[in-house]
């Protein structure tokens, strides 16, 4: 029995294996992007997309109304579905050249290879987030609103001060939550939910007095899902700049300028306004809370 040489051999084997692992490390990302002809000139239908000749668009599941209809992003119904197809069209990808992909909110921002070209999922643009991902220009100006059950204390609120003693709820990772923490600064900590569905249940169950959601979602909740709830009011934009939803792209993606240009063009020719009219209700009758 000579354990020493055997141990050494084993150690050597491990080292060799690890060394092999190093040499097999994935190659830098730059080389495996299909280099399209004129990748930066935004030539219609010839962009450097993930799947050559096709545009892959991601969103989370479930896809909520009024952004998507019937949890089917590919249907072209619902505001974001319509916007996605309009952007695709502008980039030179017809309906048949678009692939939809389910990507959870959190996974859409993880570093590493992206499997999609852009993500459309009511993601608010912020300077802080720009450090992690690329955003297109904003395609929708968001207002945050408070929703409460009719007849509740929160439903009678006329100002932000009236909400201080209400237990408020919002979905994690949303600006709605930031509005609770930074604008209302309530006396009880906000209830934070993984999904808006759970926030809605909590509102129905009386576990929270009111929830904060964006205006279109609020209209949908009060109109279709919880009919005995009402929109108490909307918040003013923080810092004077309107909050916007933007399309999310991989950090440093070659497509960002092209997608941004497409969104800008759709805003200029009135397409975005038209789609808003079609899919999202007017924001007129929600009083502003000060």
């Amino acid at each position: 029995m000579h354990p020493a040489p055997r141990a050494l051999r084993r150690a050597a084997a491990v080292v060799v294996l690890l060394a092999a692992a190093v040499s097999c490390a994935p190659q830098p990302e730059a080389s495996d992007r299909p280099s399209a002809s004129g990748g930066n000139t935004c030539e219609k239908g010839k962009l450097a997309t993930e799947n050559s000749g096709r545009l892959t668009i991601a969103t989370d599941e479930p896809a909520y109304e009024p952004w998507f209809k019937d949890d089917d992003p590919a249907g072209g119904k619902g505001f974001e579905s319509a916007v996605a197809y309009a952007v695709a069209e502008h980039l030179g990808y017809g309906k048949d050249k678009v692939t939809w992909q389910t990507v959870p909110f959190n996974k859409a921002f993880a570093p590493g290879e992206k499997t999609f070209d852009f993500d459309i999922n009511q993601v608010s643009v912020s300077e802080e987030r720009r450090k992690a991902v690329d955003f297109s220009s904003g395609y929708y100006d968001v207002r945050q609103t408070v929703v409460a059950l009719k007849g509740s204390k929160a439903a009678k609120a006329k100002s932000i001060a009236d909400l201080k003693d209400v237990k408020l709820g919002a979905q994690v990772g949303t600006t709605s939550l930031d509005y609770i923490d930074d604008v209302v600064k309530p006396n009880q900590a906000a209830a934070v939910y993984a999904k808006n569905d759970q926030a809605k249940s909590a509102l129905k169950n009386g576990q929270v007095g009111a929830i904060v959601v964006d205006l279109p979602t609020a209209f949908y909740i009060t109109g279709a899902e919880i009919t005995d709830a009402r929109i108490v009011g909307q918040f003013e934009n923080q810092g004077g700049t309107p909050e916007q939803f933007g399309l999310v792209l991989d950090k440093g993606s070659a497509l960002t300028p092209c997608v941004s240009r497409a969104v800008d063009a759709l805003r200029e020719d009135g397409t975005l306004a038209e789609l808003e009219q079609k899919w999202l209700s007017d924001a007129v009758d929600a009083p502003v809370l000060k």
Binding site: A11, P111, R129, A191
Partner: protein, 299 residues
């Protein structure tokens, strides 16, 4: 302690006084053993070093490392997340202590109910078995959903809607079923001769269980129980389904705002840091119990 050392010292002196000289062979043997031990340590240290260096090189030379470092190891976000995560962790710890105690009691009751003898106890045995089967099989997340979001929907008078209390209830239900099975296995692993001996000494069934069987059963079950306790500690975070902010949800909030994942790493490390002392403590308790039981060392 001092007494023992003194006794040892004196024994050694006596041996030396008695003119004991270790033989050359014994000295050689000891030297050889020392040399082997040194060599083993050196090899272990070297292989650890090599492994560490190779792993470090693999990670740092990965093409995506700079981006990964920014996203997962950002000092600024770690500093921001740490106090918030600790604040959330307080909820986890409270839930762990209260649910842990409730689970141990309830689990023990169910296990005893399952091991009762005699036909009269059949319904009790049946109910206990049904309970463990159902709650061990039911995914915890669904259990939480039903209890935290479904129960309040019934609008029962006097039933709390507090998501933390409801979540704690759900956790207790599921984990009692796990722990009951652990205890039952322990009870059944005590040799029947122990019971027989106790009964023959005139102890009643209950006394035999209480003084002879359970102490042995519980002692044997410490490692698996600790497993369940650590698992419970991590699952306490699931009460965030009801909107309560625990350590992981606190990290979630910052991640959602910034799209930087460092807070998750912070929360993960905090949980590990919480688990390690718990593990060491129970190891120490187990070792102490073993020492007491096996007066004179282990074989």
């Amino acid at each position: 302690m001092d007494k023992a050392q003194a006794a040892e010292g004196s024994a050694e002196r006596e041996e030396q006084d008695g003119g004991y000289v270790p033989s050359q062979r014994r000295l050689d043997r000891e030297r050889y053993k020392r040399a082997r031990a040194r060599r083993a340590t050196a090899i272990g240290a070297l292989s650890t070093l090599v492994t560490g260096v190779v792993l470090y090189l693999v990670v740092v030379n990965a093409p995506g490392w700079p981006r990964t470092k920014e996203t997962f190891f950002d000092w600024g976000y770690a500093r921001e997340a740490f106090p918030k995560v600790l604040e959330g962790l307080w909820l986890n710890v409270r839930l762990l202590l209260i649910c842990g105690a409730a689970v141990l009691v309830l689990g023990m009751l169910i296990a005893v109910a399952r091991t009762l003898r005699g036909p009269v106890f059949f319904p009790l045995r049946f109910l206990a078995a049904a309970y463990t089967d159902f709650f061990r099989g039911l995914p915890l997340i669904i259990n939480l959903m039903i209890v935290v979001l479904g129960l309040p929907a019934l609008r029962l008078q006097g039933v709390t809607v507090d998501p933390v209390l409801l979540g704690g209830t759900a956790l207790t239900l599921t984990y009692s079923a796990y722990v009951a099975e652990v205890f039952r296995a322990g009870i059944e692993s005590v040799h029947p001769s122990q019971r027989a001996a106790a009964r023959s000494l005139g102890l009643s069934n209950r006394q035999a269980l209480r003084h002879v069987v359970l102490p042995q059963a519980v002692r044997r079950q410490v490692p698996p129980l600790l497993n369940d306790l650590v698992s419970l500690q991590k699952d306490t975070g699931l009460v965030s389904i009801g909107g309560a902010v625990d350590a992981v949800r606190a990290a979630d909030i910052i991640v959602g705002r910034s799209l930087n994942y460092t807070p998750y790493i912070v929360a993960g490390l905090v949980f590990v840091a919480l688990t390690i002392p718990m593990t060491r403590f129970t190891d120490w308790v187990t070792a102490r119990m073993d020492r007491r039981r096996a007066q004179g060392g282990t074989t």
